[in-house]
Symmetry: C2
Subunit: 190 residues, 2 copies
């Protein structure tokens, strides 16, 4: 039997997205967002939801660009730190010893030490409520050259992304490969 939890924002898994932006003086900033994900195949788009109070909110509106960086489990402390501090009063790149690299495609910084990044051009804004959803067209995805596997695809077991659970306020790791999508269920065909 199922029990009611009330109208809560739980979903499994929730990602740990580190959004890279420049402020109006071109100081790089990053923030951690859990509300987001891919939202369209063509044009390829990703959505991230931010509160208006965040420093990154104004930065995205200013430059109409952002990056979405995926941290590896090895840098979990850095990604967590980014999530509870503000770029208004601190350069988080300096604090954490992380390196902002200017994207050649959009006016936003790539976090060099994180293994995967999407470079995005803002194409749509939806005001929902406490959060505003920014939809960015993905102009390129980049991965550390050491993190690919078969057919040059990024290998999640090398990238080691982790995810956030708002309920237990915990992070969980990527586990093992379970099987092939669009295939493992074929045996159920009648």
């Amino acid at each position: 039997m199922k029990i009611s939890l009330g109208p809560v924002t739980l979903l499994y898994p929730a990602p740990v997205l580190v959004v890279g932006t420049y402020d109006k003086d071109d100081k790089p900033n990053m923030m951690t967002a859990a509300w987001g994900g891919i939202c369209c195949s063509d044009p390829p788009c990703v959505a991230v939801s931010l509160r208006e109070a965040t420093y990154s909110y104004g930065n995205i509106k200013e430059h109409k660009a952002f990056t979405v960086n995926i941290p590896s489990e090895d840098l979990i402390k850095q990604a967590d730190y980014v999530g509870f501090t503000t770029g208004r009063s601190e350069n988080k790149f300096d604090t954490l010893g992380l390196t902002p690299v200017q994207s050649q495609l959009v006016h936003a910084p790539i976090i060099k030490e994180f293994p995967f990044v999407l470079e995005c051009r803002l194409i749509h804004i939806t005001e929902i409520g406490r959060h505003t959803q920014f939809i960015g067209e993905i102009l390129d995805a980049k991965v550390d050259e050491t993190m690919t596997g078969e057919n040059n695809n990024p290998d999640p077991l090398k990238i080691k992304p982790f995810y956030f659970d708002p309920g237990t306020r915990s992070y969980y790791s990527t586990g093992k490969r379970l099987g092939n999508a669009f295939s493992i269920g074929r045996s159920l065909k009648k």
Copy 2:
């Protein structure tokens, strides 16, 4: 060094969201969506992106309601099957032996055998391109009573959600608990 992958829709992790709807004749349907996630804290909202060609697309527009069900790793074959078949020509609940339970809050079915569900009222539609994004207000979240842990929070290690990687077209399991969010990075404070 990072290498370019082109404008691809990769992000880690991508969820496996099984969307429950009724068609115009109240036949229950379910489809698997990887493009989606929580998008606002207040009102609590979740976004799922669907192609217009899907049966569920018309169902959501018809009833302005849907559920988002999270399958456990134990039902990975069923969730995969749902992802490559259409409800137009088949009642997937019958094929798979899964049970649609009418939500008491919205006109959409809950998948009884899946451990976690969000019951959603459609509040916004964004036409992006190949995919249309449906934003639903979460009226309630429900979890199997056997799947909770400390403080009655749903326990990801019991729910065992898995995720999808569009690059390798594979599913990956939930791994181990890594640490406390908003805490594990505090040691980096200068």
